[in-house]
Subunit: 204 residues, 2 copies
């Protein structure tokens, strides 16, 4: 396979996703469930996802969070969401830390697959109005999950009015093509270069 | 005054802010209160600010929100934060909608000044660990508030361990220069172009 073949195949794939997306948009009313992607190296991808979950809770909309990567250490939001809003917001921490911490690819893949299974169950439930798939882009980037399956599922099985938010840097192009709303968080300035550590309330 | 004078004055001003910032950083330990700016045309500036407030609450850190612009209509987060976490998080909605809604510049300025007065009081209180100044960049952009005064206050009067988060597009360069952590939210794709309206849980 040449590079040209590769590029042509990629372009054809993107065109298929765009066509499927356009069909889905045809005759849409002015409201629909959105596929939302938070990409980029800057901060705010996860925290704005959690901010949107807080908004849903404020509106009394049932919602859910699946954490794909940070499950083992990012417990603050989980505790507060389950303690105060467990009736409206389900929380599933399926990750066990970043792969360079666990150093066990087979286990990472098994965890990611379990997270995706849970995500499909939550998204299929039409009562749930927003599902946040936190850091799923990391699992997709390392091919712990198959992006084609994720795209297919969102196109074919997501209920019309359900919002799905996917966060994490290096979002796959297939996902960008499918999404309705994509924001890239760009790092302009970062305090780590001044020797400041990650801090409570800011990074975790 | 020529354009060259203007540019030179601007450069000198930025250099002064940078020097003051560098002095502040000298001999810093590995933790400090950060000045954080969320800029850009993309989504997530306010919602990630609220996500960080949620994190502070999760850690039991007292915090506060001052809304400069959206006070009149963005009530969901306010209600839920005050109802559930009023003991940890103060909420002050000082804005009365965007200026193109109120069309009363004198009133906008008075509201912005009242918001800034409240913000100074909250930031000065060393018990409060994070203050979110939501959409203050809009008030600064329209010169409802004086950016030099805001920069001076943050440099000279902010307690060392207090985080201050300033959101809104078109952040002033003086503020970017001062800040420790700047993220630009860039719009890659937006559903409004497909005729989709602002929706609950996503935009408000």
């Amino acid at each position: 396979m040449t590079e040209t073949d590769d590029a042509a195949r990629h372009a054809a794939k993107m065109a298929r996703i765009k066509a499927a997306r356009d069909r889905m948009m045809e005759g849409k009313t002015d409201r629909k469930g959105l596929v939302i992607v938070h990409d980029g190296k800057g901060k705010g991808k996860s925290s704005s996802g959690f901010g949107m979950i807080l908004r849903c809770i404020a509106h009394g909309m049932p919602c859910a969070v699946v954490q794909f990567i940070k499950g083992a250490w990012d417990t603050g939001e989980r505790r507060i969401l389950t303690e105060h809003f467990g009736d409206l917001c389900q929380f599933h921490a399926m990750g066990e830390g970043f792969t360079w911490e666990t150093q066990d690819r087979a286990r990472d893949i098994a965890m990611a697959e379990a997270g995706w299974e849970k995500a499909r169950e939550l998204i299929r439930d039409p009562e749930i109005r927003m599902v946040l798939l936190d850091e799923i882009n990391i699992a997709l980037r390392y091919d712990y999950l198959d992006v084609d399956e994720v795209v297919r599922f969102l196109l074919e099985e997501k209920p019309e009015m359900t919002h799905v938010v996917l966060t994490g840097r290096n979002a796959k192009p297939e996902l960008i093509e499918l999404a309705d709303l994509v924001t890239e968080m760009t790092m302009v300035k970062h305090p780590f270069r001044d020797g400041i550590k990650a801090q409570k309330g800011v990074e975790f």
